[in-house]
Structure formats: structure tokens, C-alpha cells
């Protein structure tokens, strides 16, 4: 918990045993009928501890697949992934995930949703309650503890999902287009809140998005992926010195240049994906 407030951008390679190391990962979807589809090909990527990395690419490029492999939700077919020195074989509470579809337990209230992971860790009841309340406050949901997810707006649901994941204090936060289902105003607010939470807590974040601006605004580094089969096309540093406030960042010259540069890279792939004859 005694961590520097911000991640250090641009520092050298990850120290051995820390961060995430993805090495020569390939993945092929094999549907029961029909031809197998190569989703990922020879992906290698090192992510430093407490780094915020965005995976950016056209839809269908396999960026979510890569995230699920890091999460351990699907068996690895080729290559290897290690998180903080441990080889990934199965999902675990060291890697929390937030989905676009929120994936809240609809039969549980807000606080019960957040308590679920805490109870799985075997913490004493009082401690669970205290922590759940802390994270409810953190995402500004005080007063909605006993609401069911169906009674909340999309933005509030995603706050619950984020709080539920943060409450178990994972070292790595995996986010699968978390703000994709939200309206643009809510999205902007949530982006700011995510940044401020990340700055205060020692977490590595991998953030999947197809929104260039979102990637540039949030991430230290953006990994641009190619159209299917997904490969890493470019790695771009996007943490600008000085600016703390995202409204300030958005107005800066560096931001505009980075968005422009990344947009060019992504557009080539989006065109390629479109020409690939996908329905």
C-alpha cells in the first residue's frame, strides 16, 4: 500500500518477477462446425508493474481474446503468460476483470455483489462490511447499498462492477471495453474516476477499447493490434508529462498528435478488417 502516487512512464524493461509478461501467444477458435479461426498470432508484450496499457484495435481483432487469456478464462494454446512471476493457468483473484456488460449478479443487492469476492477471501464479516462500504463510497454509490442491479442506470451498474473487482484488491485490473455501453457524458466521468482511482492504488491495468481517444487519454502505453489474426502492430507511449487533469490533457497538442497518429494506424487495420469479407 505504500506506493508512489503515480506510475513512472517510460522506465526500462520490467524487473523479473513483476508485471505481466506475454510471450509468443497464439490462439485459434475451433468451433464444433466450420473452419477454425486464428484470432491471435505470435503476441509478445511486456507490461510493467502499475502500468496502464490500452489494447487498441478494430473490432474482431482478438484484443478481448488476449485479455481473457491473461485472465486465465480460456486455456492457452500457444506461448505463455505470466503475471508477477506466476504462470497463468486459471482465473484468480489477483486478476480482477470488468466487462462491458457489467456481469453483476442480478439476484444480489449492490453490497451483496461487492461482498461476494470479499467473503471468498475468508475475511472476517466485520472486515468484509467495512471494505465493501469503503469501495461503495469510492465509486459514489452511498445510499444504493440495498438496490438491485436492475434498479440502477448503466453508469451505476458499471460503478458497482468496478467496486466489486477493486474490493478484492487485485494486483492487475483487466477491463474489457468497460465504458462501451455507456452514454458519452457518463463515459467521460467514468474515465476520470478510473484514472483517479488508479493513481491512488497500486494496480496494473490492461484496458481493451476500440476508441482511440479513450486509449490515449487513459493509458501510459497503447498497443495497437492488427486485424485478424491479431498481432501487435505498434506500441505508442501516451503518458504526457505535467497535465494532471484530463480536461487539460484533451486540449494539449501532444494529445491531438497522439490521437492523430494512432487513428492512422487503427484506420488501416479497420479497413483491412472490412475488406476481409467479414459479414
Amino acid at each position: 500500500m505504500s506506493a508512489p502516487a503515480t506510475a513512472v512512464p517510460g522506465a526500462g524493461a520490467a524487473a523479473p518477477g513483476t508485471g505481466i509478461s506475454i510471450s509468443r501467444v497464439g490462439y485459434e477458435y475451433r468451433p464444433p462446425r466450420g473452419r477454425p479461426v486464428l484470432a491471435l498470432e505470435n503476441i509478445s508484450l511486456d507490461i510493467k508493474d502499475r502500468e496502464f496499457v490500452a489494447l487498441l484495435g478494430p473490432s474482431g481483432c482478438g484484443k478481448s481474446t488476449l485479455l481473457y487469456l491473461i485472465g486465465g478464462f480460456m486455456p492457452l494454446q500457444q506461448g505463455s503468460i505470466s503475471v508477477n512471476g506466476r504462470i497463468v493457468t486459471a482465473p484468480g483473484p489477483d486478476r480482477g476483470i470488468v466487462f462491458q456488460s457489467f456481469a453483476l449478479f442480478p439476484w444480489k443487492t449492490v453490497i451483496q455483489n461487492i461482498l461476494y469476492g470479499l467473503e471468498k477471501r475468508g475475511l472476517p464479516r466485520e472486515e468484509c462490511r467495512r471494505r465493501a462500504q469503503h469501495y461503495i463510497d469510492l465509486v459514489h454509490l452511498r445510499g444504493f447499498e440495498d438496490s438491485y442491479p436492475s434498479q440502477l442506470s448503466g453508469g451505476m451498474k458499471q460503478r458497482v462492477a468496478i467496486a466489486r473487482t477493486l474490493a478484492t484488491e487485485p494486483g492487475t485490473l483487466l477491463m474489457d471495453e468497460p465504458f462501451g455501453a455507456l452514454d458519452s457524458q457518463t463515459r467521460t466521468i467514468m474515465q476520470d474516476e478510473l484514472l483517479s482511482i488508479w493513481r491512488r492504488s497500486p494496480m496494473t491495468v490492461i484496458f481493451v477499447t476500440h476508441d482511440v481517444r479513450e486509449a490515449v487519454l487513459l493509458a501510459d502505453r497503447v498497443a495497437v493490434m492488427t486485424a485478424r489474426p491479431g498481432r501487435i502492430k505498434a506500441l505508442v507511449d501516451t503518458r504526457f508529462s505535467g497535465a494532471a487533469d484530463s480536461a487539460e490533457v484533451v486540449r494539449s497538442r501532444e494529445y491531438a498528435d497522439a490521437v492523430d497518429h494512432l487513428w492512422t494506424l487503427v484506420r488501416e487495420e479497420a479497413v483491412a478488417a472490412g475488406a476481409g469479407g467479414r459479414p
Partner: protein
Amino acid sequence: MAQSIEAVTELSRPADRGERLRRFVDTFGPFITVGAILLAWELMARQQIVTPFLLPAMTTVAARIGDDLISGRLLLDVALTLYRAFAGFAIAAVVGVALGLLIARFVTVRWFFDPIVSFALPMPKIALMPIFMLWFGLFDMSKILMVAFSLSFQIVISTWSAAHSVEKELVWSARSLGASDRATLWEVVLPAALPQILTGLQVALPLALIVALVTEMIMGGGGLGDTMLQSARYVDSPGVFAGIVEIGIVGYGCIAAMGLIRKRLLAWHQESSNGGTM
């Protein structure tokens, strides 16, 4: 929440004539339908369009039901039939839901049971009644097992498809929050699939009554089915009609009770605020 607000504004608006008529029909519609059928029945019987043997008057049948109620025979029959139907239903529900979940979750279980379930599902299970009679005798055991056997396969199938359609993100969330495979099955897949599982059980419930009634008709041993068949043997037409009305009321009661249970179990579910009948 939004729905209740909508409902309030709807009520506070001055109700026009169409609105009032609709609300009247919503409340009293079923009574009007049932009343009209009973009245038509009574008139047809009184007009002697058919003989009282073919169609006894509604009032005669009602009087018979009243007699049965006072003598205690009705309660005994209903209790016996419901006992057999519910015992079989309960066995089928426990076995069917458990097996359906396991099949959805574990490939090996699916490999083993898929051919069995696929073969048994479309088969008329009642065809095995003679064997059940030979194996388990003519008493409650064979009737209850016949009900359980008849229902199990379709409950397996409906549970399987319910569990199969649980979104993977929900399961993955639980796993990454530290839940084991087994805990995920009972704490996440089961409740997430519950609305559809309950629908499957609601479809199976009338079948439980049907099978219980048929086994009673064939094997005897009391219950509504046995009594109806006895009445037919003694050419007691009001008795047969009384039985039909009684089993109808019992069936309606069961479905209504199941609907209430569903509402209790799914208080979290959006549909519970929509006020559907099922």
C-alpha cells in the same frame, strides 16, 4: 422503480371510458367467462338437449361436490392425488435440476447422459407403467416413481438449456473473484438460470397431475382418478363430472401456488414487477 412511477401517473390521469372498461375487464373478466360457461351448461342441461346421463345439470354436480366435501371424501382424494403428484414432482425436480446443471457444466457428464436423455425425452414414459407395476407393485411407490420418471427428462433438458444460456461473463466474474468451480455452479449458475428453470418446472407441474391421475385410474388405490373411474363403472354421471371439476380446481390451485413461489424466489428479477400470470 420506473414502472411504479409510470403506474402512479397512469392512475392519477382522469380515466376515460376505454380505460375504465379495460380495468373492469382486467378485474372481473375471468369471473364473467366462468359464469357464462356455467350458465350455458345449466341451461343446456335444463333444456334436456341431451339426457341428464350424458350431461347432468351444473347444480347437480355442484351439489355432489358439496356432499363430497362434507363427507370428507373429497379432501381425502385430493390429498392422496396431490401427495403422489408432489412426491413424484419433488423427486423429478431435485434429480432433473441437479443433472441438468452437471450436464451443462461438465463435458464428461454430458457425454454419458446425452444419448440417454435424447432417447427418453420424446418417448411416452407412460408406456413403462406395466413394468413399474410389476417392479414396484400397485401402491404409492409405483405411482410416485411413475410421476418422477415421466417428468425428469424434460426437467433435465430445460435446466440444461437454462444453465447453458447463462452468460459466460457472469461465470468468469465469479471465478476471478475467487469462487471455485463448484461454488460457481451452485452460487452463480443456479441462481442465474433460476427464472428459466422455474419455467421448466411450471411446465412439468400439470404433467405431474396428469400422470398421477392416470396411474390412479389404472392401478386404483384411492385418489381423484380412482374415484372418477369408479363413478364411471357405476354409471354415476354426476360423480364423473364432479371429478372433472375437482381436478380442474386442484390443477388451477397448483399453478397459482407455483406462480406465488416464483414471485417469492425471483423478487430480484425484473419480471416480478410486470405482474405476469406465469
